[in-house]
Amino acid sequence: MEKRSVYTNKLLPYLLLAPQLVITLVFFYWPASQAVWMSFRIEDAFGISTEFVGFENYVTLFGQRSYYESMWTTLVFSLAVTILAMSFSLLLAVMADKQIRGGSVYRTLLIWPYAVAPAIAGVLWLFMFQPSLGMIGRGLIAAGVPWNPMLNGDHALLLVILAAAWKQISYNFLFFLAGLQSIPKSLIEAAAIDGAKPARRFWTIIFPMLSPTTFFLLVVNIVYVFFDTFGIIDAITHGGPAKATETLVFKVYSDGRLGGDLGGSAAQSVVLMVIVIALTAIQFRYVERKVTY
């Protein structure tokens, strides 16, 4: 049998591919190349003319202390969010996978947070943890914990980490649950008869069998923390106080849109793009080897 599809009309295959190609070109390659192009230019203060400056934007960028601070913030933020979101969702999925009364209700409730818009999620968390208005914030202060995410940078970072992780848990939960349910029950039973206690069953059988799911979620979560947490940060802290929660993606926005430095901001987004591509490539290169499909 001929493995390749054969089209009698020479144009038809191109026509069929066109929508996909056009979308990729218009929404990815064009903006990306624009960003690269802009990162080599400087715009004047009024936005009337631009000038080609080569790598000057990059040189300036890597000479800024604040950029390294933002990188550090991003590192702490992304590690914490990824670890929190993935471990909690796995825990919840394992518990929801058990045969319990009303299991489907729990499952539905656990999926809901994903439907909440990032800005609303951010505001919700802000309300809860606001030191003078929020229920939990006031409770913490009443309990003698010095809590003020509006002034204390570490508190602010902790709050956005919690909110960002909470937002992602539903998504991860859904995939982990599906992953767990696709593990044949007889494998667990065989392991039980083979003398493996529940904890050992989890780490030697269930967890390795979930590895494709875990790997997929790792890639998705890292992309999520790098790009999609902007709304939450913007709603809760605006990157403050004193840039304590300014991650790389937030800095692109604040320097470019608020600071008016389009060239520098473009350079930042190119660097960010390179980082995420590199991270994803590393994951596929090294982590995927440990995955058994």
Binding site: P184, L187, E189, A192, I193, D194, G195, P208, M209, T292
Partner: protein, 366 residues
């Protein structure tokens, strides 16, 4: 190695469905007990209760002299072979077999010795470093067996282990399982819906239906003397013919207008009582010329090679006769059959129970 005793074991699921309705079986040390029955008869549930994968609603399961009702599967000293093999896909064959021993903190060199020995017995040495997905169905089956034997358990449990194999391999593995069980002498419980597997493997055959035990006995006993109409039609291939009959006097029964002697029919039955009469396809014989017999009208013939199946009717009832090929000239429409008195089985039409001269209890002991 141990005796396995089931005492009035019941399984009632939440919602009140009773899957196993009080089963008592004794399996002697080293015995091979096969649970056979149609799907949904509770045989797998029963096996899983012995394994500890299902809770026991009431009754008692004992392995050796230890009641294991509340003991974890891991502590019961059993090994189980699953229908889908349940091999750990992310582990090599070696690790699959060694897993149970590692969980029990067996010394490394001891594990290696036992895994190699199991691999040698099952002829899977060349595949030890492979992953299960790189193996054929038969090889996976062997690995599953290896995982069971390496632990040297007191009891083997088999849950339809051959049903995922093709017909040829199934016959081959069946023989190997039997040989292996003989060689190791481990008490075994084997669940299947295949009556050929059941007959060939067991030294104790348990026929189940609807959550109850229909009959327990050696394969020959069950075949020769089915206690119920269900067992009669379930064991044996092609299944036993069941014809409507009427009790006559002197231990005779009338089928399709013909009078047959029934050696084992109860003597206290009222003449005229409507009963079911069972006759195995292979046990009726074509009468010699001039000898009177049951009139059998042939509709069509199925060739099986060495034998052929003649489909037709005796009186109003459908009947199948199995005879050596060429016993009847082509185009024969009617033959007379003679049936030996001890090959005529009589069952109560209502309850399906065998109407026997000997009480059921006495025959069980025999």
């Amino acid at each position: 190695m141990a005796v396995v005793t089931l005492k009035d074991v019941r399984k009632v699921y939440a919602g009140g469905v009773e899957a196993v309705k009080g089963v008592s079986i004794d399996i002697p040390d080293g015995g091979f007990c096969v649970l056979v029955g149609p799907s949904g008869c509770g045989k797998s549930t029963l096996l899983r209760m012995v394994a500890g994968l299902e809770t026991i609603s009431s009754g008692e399961v004992a392995i050796g002299d230890r009641v294991v009702n509340d003991i974890e599967p891991a502590e019961r000293d059993i090994a189980m072979v699953f229908q889908n093999y349940a091999l750990y896909p992310h582990m090599s064959v070696y690790d699959n077999i060694a897993y149970g021993l590692r969980n029990r903190k067996t010394p490394k060199d001891e594990i290696d010795r036992r895994v190699q020995e199991a691999a040698r017995i099952l002829a899977i040495e060349p595949f030890l470093q492979r992953k299960p997905r790189a193996l054929s169905g038969g090889q996976r089956q062997r690995v599953a067996m290896g995982r069971a034997i390496v632990r040297k358990p007191q009891v083997f449990l088999f849950d339809e282990p051959l049903s995922n194999l093709d017909a040829k391999l199934r016959v081959q593995m069946r023989v190997e399982i039997k040989k292996l069980q003989r060689a190791l002498g481990v008490t075994s419980i084997y669940v299947t819906h295949d009556q050929v597997e059941a007959m060939t493997l067991s030294d104790k055959l348990v026929v189940m239906s609807g959550g109850q035990v229909e009959q327990v006995g050696t394969p020959t006993e069950v075949y020769r003397r089915p206690e119920t109409r269900f067992v009669a039609t379930f064991i044996g291939s092609p299944p036993m013919n069941i014809l409507p009959g009427v009790v006559e006097t002197d231990g005779r029964v009338s089928v399709g207008g013909q009078s047959l002697a029934a050696a084992d029919m109860a003597t206290d039955l009222k003449p005229g009582l409507a009963v079911d009469v069972g006759i195995r396809p292979e046990e009726a014989e074509i009468a010699a010329p001039g000898v009177a017999g049951c009139a059998f009208a042939i509709d069509f013939v199925e060739e099986l090679g060495a034998t052929e199946l003649l489909h037709g009717t005796i009186g109003e009832g459908a009947f199948v006769l199995q005879v050596p090929t060429g016993s009847v000239p082509n185009g024969t429409k009617q033959v007379a059959l003679t049936i030996a008195p001890n090959c005529v089985h009589v069952f109560d039409r209502e309850t399906g129970k065998r109407l026997s001269r000997r009480p059921a209890e006495a025959s069980k002991a025999a």
